[in-house]
C-alpha cells in the first residue's frame, strides 16, 4: 500500500471527523485525491465504519464486561448472542475459548440477568466474565 494511503488511514483513525481540507494538509495530498481515496477505502470495505468511541459510564451505562465463551453449537450461539441489545463487540477466537463478546449494561440488574442467562443457556459450555475499564481504544498505528 502506498505510504500516502497509510498516512491517510492513520490520520483518519486519529479523528474521523477531520475535514477533507485538514486531511489534505496532513497527508500532503490534493483535496480531490483525499476525497476519492476516502471513498475508495470505504467502498472497498477496508474502512468498515467511522465510529465515535464513547465513555458509556458518562451517559448512564457504567458496566462494561468482556466475556470469553466456549459454545456447544457455534452458529446457534452466534445468533443467540447477536440478539442481545447490550452486545458491543463479538469476535471468533481460537484456543481455550470460541468467542469473545463485549457487552454494556445500564445497571447491575441487567448484568445479573445476562450472567444468569449465560449459566443456563443451552448454547454455552463455559464462560468467564471480566469487568473492564477503558485505557485506550483503536490506537494501533498502521505501517
Amino acid at each position: 500500500m502506498k505510504p500516502e494511503i497509510i498516512r491517510l488511514l492513520n490520520e483518519i483513525r486519529k479523528n474521523s471527523r477531520s475535514s477533507l481540507t485538514d486531511l489534505s494538509y496532513r497527508t500532503g495530498m490534493p483535496l480531490s485525491t483525499v476525497y476519492k481515496r476516502v471513498c475508495k477505502l470505504e467502498d472497498s470495505g477496508l474502512i468498515t465504519r467511522h465510529v465515535a468511541l464513547i465513555d458509556f459510564e458518562k451517559v448512564g451505562y457504567p458496566f462494561k464486561v468482556g466475556v470469553f465463551i466456549t459454545s456447544k453449537q457455534r452458529k446457534d450461539f452466534e445468533e443467540y448472542i447477536k440478539e442481545s441489545d447490550n452486545l458491543n463487540t463479538l469476535m471468533k477466537l481460537s484456543g481455550d475459548y470460541d468467542y469473545y463478546a463485549e457487552l454494556i449494561f445500564k445497571d447491575m440488574n441487567g448484568y445479573q440477568d445476562f450472567e444468569e442467562a449465560m449459566k443456563s443457556s443451552k448454547f454455552v459450555k463455559k464462560h468467564k466474565i471480566h469487568f473492564m475499564s477503558d485505557v485506550r481504544q483503536e490506537c494501533s498505528e498502521i505501517r
Binding site: 465510529v51 463479538l90 484456543g95 471480566h130 469487568f131 485505557v135 498505528e141
Partner: protein, 159 residues
C-alpha cells in the same frame, strides 16, 4: 425530547457514522445544525466522546496476527507494564480488568510470530504472574452498542 434522550440520539448517529454531515444529522434528528455543532464539541470537551475514529479491516492491510491477551502482573510491575502497553504501536486497545487479572490487550501484528515475539519480550521485561493468549479468527461485530438511531426513534425519543 429530554436532554439526555437527545444526547443519546445524537451519540447514536455518531456511533453509526462518525463522519455524518451535520446537515444530514439535523435533517434526521430535527435538531438544528448549530445545536449539533455545540453538542458534539461539548461531548468531546466533557470526555463523553473519547475518540472519533475509523474501524479498519486489519487483515486487508496485511495484519494477520490479531490476538487478545489477558495479563496478570506482579504489583511492582503493573504501572510500568501499563505505560509500555500504552506506547506500543501494535496495541490496538487496552483495558483494565478484574477477576484475578490486570489487563486485557488487543494486539495487531503482521503475523503470529510477531505476536509471540511481543509476548516473549513482555515476559523478559516484566514479572508476569500469568498470561493467556487468544488468537482472533474473525471479527464478527465491533462497536455496535448504541449504534442504531432507529432504535431510539422506535422508543419514541424523537419529537
Amino acid at each position: 425530547m429530554k436532554k439526555m434522550e437527545r444526547d443519546l440520539l445524537i451519540l447514536s448517529y455518531l456511533r453509526q457514522n462518525a463522519r455524518m454531515k451535520l446537515t444530514e444529522m439535523s435533517r434526521q434528528s430535527r435538531v438544528p445544525v448549530s445545536t449539533l455543532f455545540d453538542m458534539i464539541r461539548s461531548f468531546e470537551m466533557r470526555g463523553v466522546i473519547n475518540k472519533l475514529t475509523s474501524l479498519v479491516r486489519f487483515e486487508s492491510l496485511g495484519y494477520h496476527g490479531r490476538a487478545i491477551i489477558v495479563l496478570a502482573a506482579c504489583k511492582n510491575d503493573r504501572q510500568g507494564l501499563q505505560e509500555m502497553l500504552e506506547c506500543n504501536r501494535n496495541v490496538n486497545s487496552l483495558y483494565k480488568i478484574n477477576n484475578g487479572w490486570d489487563f486485557m490487550v488487543e494486539l495487531v501484528f503482521p503475523g503470529i510470530k510477531e505476536v509471540e515475539d511481543f509476548i516473549e519480550d513482555l515476559e523478559e521485561k516484566f514479572q508476569l504472574r500469568d498470561k493467556k493468549v487468544f488468537y482472533v479468527v474473525d471479527e464478527i461485530m465491533k462497536e455496535k452498542f448504541m449504534a442504531n438511531p432507529k432504535a431510539f426513534k422506535m422508543l419514541g425519543v424523537v419529537v
